[in-house]
């Protein structure tokens, strides 16, 4: 569905390459994620794909067609949820959606869309009086209003409280269930972990790793279990291999009460630091 080869981008007037010959492809019906810290090139990649930036090197194809060859039809096929809210602040949410609706050949009802993200009561409020979280939810429904095959979501949960973040994540999973192809960027490892079929680690404009979240985590995990006992300050570590036959381990948990016991599975954050040498936030 999306094929990116040796994609390179330099912003006019800057010396630094924002994207460094990156390669990836996104299959039909897949949720693909870019996980990376601020300034790593996530938005730049997406903007090239929906043609807000031109003059790239390498190749970026959607449905086999180079993006710079696509005309206006591309925009019936794709939906874009921008990183920052962008609405007519003097118009109400409903007026905003009705306005954009007029440009698409098919569209869901604006009121239904607002209801999906709990904004139906504020439908007739000017967007200028919305909070950041409300604007971001409006961003999201505008992206899906014309029922696009491909969704680009640039940090869809940023600036949302846990409740609204949950709502948006559920809606993303709902879109996935409908067979949509989704390209998400985030610097939230939990979002990447929960939503994405495959994740690319991006740092300084380069893709440093690309795999299923479980595989990435396994690669950096130590196959160990860590035990903490009641009334004991020491931490005990055991190898997971043949743990059942480990006498020291069984003796220990027989003798004392366990306070906590964890397998030392790495988080995506840990792996990200191991691989890229950078932190996510």
């Amino acid at each position: 569905m999306i094929d990116v080869k040796d994609l390179e981008y330099i912003y006019a007037g800057t010396a630094k390459t924002a994207l460094n010959r990156i390669n990836f492809n996104i299959d039909c019906g897949e949720v693909f994620g870019f996980l990376g810290p601020s300034g790593s090139g996530k938005s730049t990649t997406q903007k090239i794909l929906f043609r807000l930036l031109s003059g790239y090197n390498g190749s970026a194809k959607i449905d086999g067609v180079e993006v710079n060859q696509w005309g206006k039809k591309l925009y019936e096929k794709i939906g874009v949820g921008f990183e920052l809210p962008n609405h007519y602040l003097k118009l109400t949410a409903l007026e905003n959606l009705n306005f954009f609706k007029a440009f698409y050949s098919r569209s869901k009802s604006p009121m239904d869309l607002l209801a999906m993200v709990g904004l139906e009561k504020d439908a007739n409020k000017k967007v200028g009086d919305y909070s950041k979280g409300m604007k971001m939810r409006l961003n999201f429904v505008r992206a899906i209003m014309h029922d696009p095959e491909i969704l680009f979501l640039d940090e869809p949960t940023s600036g949302l409280d846990p409740v609204n973040s949950r709502i948006v994540k559920d809606l993303i999973l709902e879109q996935k269930k409908q067979g949509k192809t989704i390209f998400i960027t985030t610097h939230e490892m939990h979002d990447a972990d929960e939503l994405c079929d495959r994740v690319a680690f991006i740092a300084d404009g380069s893709i440093m790793a690309l795999d299923k979240p479980q595989n990435l985590k396994l690669k950096g995990s130590k196959r160990m279990v860590e035990v903490r006992l009641k009334n004991d300050h020491n931490l005990y570590e055991f190898s997971l291999d043949e743990l059942g036959k480990n006498r020291v381990f069984s003796a220990l948990i027989e003798r004392s009460e366990i306070e906590t016991i964890h397998s030392k599975e790495a988080t995506l954050d840990d792996i990200f630091i191991q691989i890229t040498g950078k932190t996510l936030s």
């Binding site: 206006k72 874009v80 007519y88 602040l89 003097k90 954009f100 440009f103």
Partner: protein, 237 residues
């Protein structure tokens, strides 16, 4: 058609919900009233003012016409400020569709404004057909201003500075009437120069068509140049 209606309705709402734009919209009406009632009043007191009626009218019509250019460009500057322009760029329309909608929107209102000024001011009336033709050319100032301001101003504060600057530049070709040599044609690089002189010729001369046609060519060339600049800097695709 559905789109045109939506675009128009949304633009009108934006104008009526913005104090600056409402003021811009009221200016032409105030100007027409001013010219219709105040100028004749002054003229009865100081009869020599009659000499300047044509000059007052050519300038007042321009001032009326450009207000709609500013309204339209401030709507685009708002779209820049609020980043809605990004969303418009990912709608299934061609860039030209959007640009020409905004330019035609501005030009139509501007035509109506200039025509009302020439028809209702009650002074220096050139006759209905000249009034129509002159209004057509005045209407071209609106797209020109829309393009200049929305391409080169980065926000509404800069837009306000352009507003004052452009107003001043418009006034400059009036000076050409006080210069009686070939040097007056140097002012011809400002497109309204040709419209001012067309007006003058429509009232008291034989060369209306010469000025009008050269003027139309100048406007169209400048607008074409600005459209390509707008596409390069604002709506690239």
């Amino acid at each position: 058609m559905k789109r045109i209606v939506q675009l128009t309705v949304a633009d009108l709402k934006k104008i009526f919900r913005d104090k600056t734009l409402l003021l811009f919209l009221l200016t032409p009406i105030l100007l027409i009233l001013f010219v219709r009632y105040f100028v004749p009043f002054i003229t009865t007191r100081y009869p020599e003012a009659a000499e300047y009626h044509v000059m007052i009218m050519m300038f007042a019509s321009a001032q009326t016409a450009i207000m709609f250019g500013f309204i339209s460009s401030f709507i685009i500057l708002d779209e820049k400020d609020e980043n809605v322009l990004q969303v418009i760029r990912i709608l299934p329309i061609t860039p030209s569709y959007f640009i020409f909608f905004r330019l035609i929107f501005a030009a139509l209102f501007s035509f109506a404004g200039a025509f009302s000024m020439i028809a209702f001011s009650g002074i220096a009336f050139p006759g209905w057909s000249f009034a129509f033709l002159l209004s057509l050319q005045y209407a071209l100032t609106a797209p020109l201003i829309t393009l200049v301001v929305s391409t080169y101003a980065n926000n509404k504060i800069e837009g306000m500075a352009f507003f004052k600057g452009v107003d001043l530049i418009l006034l400059v070709p009036v000076l050409s009437f006080f210069i009686d040599s070939w040097a007056r044609y140097l002012f011809g690089i400002v497109p309204v120069f040709w419209t001012f002189h067309s007006y003058d010729q429509a009232i008291s001369g034989n060369d209306f068509w010469l000025f009008f046609l050269i003027g139309s060519v100048v406007y169209i060339m400048v607008i074409a140049l600005l459209v390509s600049q707008f596409r390069k800097k604002v709506f690239d695709r």
